[in-house]
Symmetry: C2
Subunit: 364 residues, 2 copies
């Protein structure tokens, strides 16, 4: 069902999108402030994917860059619409709606900025079902909609159009180089598609899910219920039904560096229930979780670090020595676990040697 | 006067373009082979800039990248036309002619490849009057025609369109990043302009001049006359009237490295007429010449290394220990020495502290 989003929804949506960001994706709080500023008392129509006309023309919009840079470099807010307009001009067709390419992190908010500026509705779906570090890691691409042509807008009015045919990795490779030279952040429009394409290739209702998660966590706190039970309740009705507590403990080490446009590193957690160690490795997003050297969760399943009491999600750049945290493993939809999907954004796509292991069936 | 170029002219043109490449610009021999292959028995019309209709639409074409890479990575030959067509589609206007952006090095040949493929004529003018390492170092830009939008084509069919408004340095910065990620070489179409713009902003008749220089050197050798006197004779009738022998000697040291898409380094020559040393510094092209630490020639004047007997021009990548060479200093046209021109491609544009010193009036 289509629904209406207002500024009052943004704090909950930001919380849910941070959880789905699995440590990365950029800070949705900054994005929510951009939406708030442009939207004011207005509202945005969120379209259910099942209700889209087959020939509705959808142009997704997003930000690309290292989240550590995004924290320092707040965008003006007009760039993603500039990217949309550049792609429309190039294609000779106006968009009927925009859509996230990524439901986790700041990219949950960028299409809302565009919607608030242009009056376009936003499709309740995305191409990552979480956050990923690269533009080619999209269910869109896995199921046959390619990213090119991509339009990229810079803060000084630059526009760059990149067309690499059906080679989405080459598109990512070239767009990343431009983004780095724009200072680490660029705004993009890509993966233009029809309503029929959305139904075939997108992860459905991920904006709704992010909002429901953020709201459930808040309401549980207000009502002195367990926010962890609330998260599990929400997920049980979605394509992400399994959630598992992987560790509760104290952050004892964090290493991160920004290199080649990515924030890479690892966090070490001392579990409260034993002497072992728990380690998370990340490239913008959390990629793997190991307990005493044994794999317990791996991309594309979600590895989410949250406050041990409030369940407030903690991003990679928010990790600090001494924090008490819980680490949740959440199952991704089956369409994100097919061989073709795992080739695009499974362990090997990140240079990891380990095979995918569904979080609901951990190694014994 | 407009004239007709055939494949028989290419060896002389390549020799002259290598001289005007001042050590860089990429090897025009490779380019001449591409032209030969496409042109066969055909011919290309070379348009005199004074005879262009004011509203003739000209799209210059070129290759960008490090000359050391170009030697190893011979282009397919179709990329510059692909770039031209991408820019035409973006602008919604077909070109009436193409033109070099650079008369020295391989970029003397790229517009001829396009002409041979498309049947377009080539304007006898360019925007550098020699070779320079960056796309923003153009008399076009100095006199008010900007490079954007630029179209860039890669060997796997990629196209990238870059629009940075009137900021030609930002255009260079972004296009260079894409070129590096394409493997070090890209083909471009940029600085679209009218016939009236050509007359106002281009260095005129530089294809003619390159051809005349190459032919004069060859004919002098064949007739056992001095090729150095022949060079001086040709230049005396052009906008480059002054030529001066800066040094005759033996190459005793060459350092070069490819970094950030450029070939940078220096060559040291032991003069035959004394104990001193003569040093040339280059960034793709030769930038400065010093004799015993004193400046004798500096960019944008031409510093050309040639064989000490045959006057065959030697590029930076052709420099070898033990070569006997002469170094010639050649004056650039006055339109390349104005304060605005020196700001774009004078010493400071290359990070040099020294002021411009016309080669015909060396420091005493």
């Amino acid at each position: 069902m289509s629904w209406i989003l207002t500024a009052a929804d943004l704090p909950d949506l930001a919380r849910g999108a941070t959880l789905l960001g699995t440590g990365g994706g950029g800070d949705p709080y900054i994005g929510s402030k951009l939406v708030e500023r442009v939207l004011g008392e207005g509202s945005i129509t969120i379209l259910d994917p099942d209700e889209l006309a087959d020939d509705l023309f959808v142009i997704p919009t997003a930000q690309m860059g290292a989240p550590t840079v995004m924290v320092e470099k707040i965008p003006a807010g007009t760039e993603p619409t500039q990217a949309l307009r550049a792609l429309e001009a190039h294609l000779g067709r106006m968009a009927d709606a925009t859509m996230p390419i990524e439901c986790g992190g700041i990219n949950s908010m960028i299409p809302l900025v565009v919607a608030a500026e242009t009056g376009l509705p936003v499709v309740d779906a995305d191409g990552m079902g979480r956050a990923f570090p690269e533009l080619s890691m999209e269910t869109f691409a896995v199921y046959g909609v390619h990213g090119s042509p991509l339009a990229l807008a810079g803060e000084r009015g630059e526009t760059v159009l990149i067309d690499t045919g059906d080679d989405d990795r080459q598109m990512e490779w070239l767009a990343r180089a431009v983004t780095i030279r724009l200072g680490g952040v660029g705004h993009i429009a890509e993966y233009a598609m029809t309503g029929a394409d959305v139904r075939r290739t997108a992860v459905p209702r991920t904006i709704s899910m992010a909002l429901a998660l953020g709201r459930a966590i808040r309401e549980a706190r207000e009502q002195h219920r367990s926010p962890f039970a609330a998260i599990a309740d929400v997920l049980s009705t979605t394509l992400y039904p399994h959630v598992r507590e992987l560790c509760t403990g104290k952050v004892v080490d964090v290493e991160r560096r920004t290199t080649e446009g990515f924030a890479k590193g690892r966090a070490v957690i001392a579990p409260l229930d034993g002497d072992g160690t728990f380690e998370i490795r990340f490239q913008n997003e959390n990629l793997t979780a190991h307990r005493d050297g044994a794999l317990v969760a791996i991309v594309p399943d979600l590895i989410c670090v949250v406050d041990h009491e409030t369940a407030e999600p903690i991003t990679t750049e928010g990790l600090r020595y001494g924090q008490r945290v819980r680490v949740l493993g959440i199952s991704t939809p089956e369409m994100m676990r097919t061989p073709a999907a795992l080739e695009a954004f499974g362990p090997a796509a990140f240079g990891l040697d380990e095979a995918f292991l569904p979080v609901e069936r951990p190694a014994s």
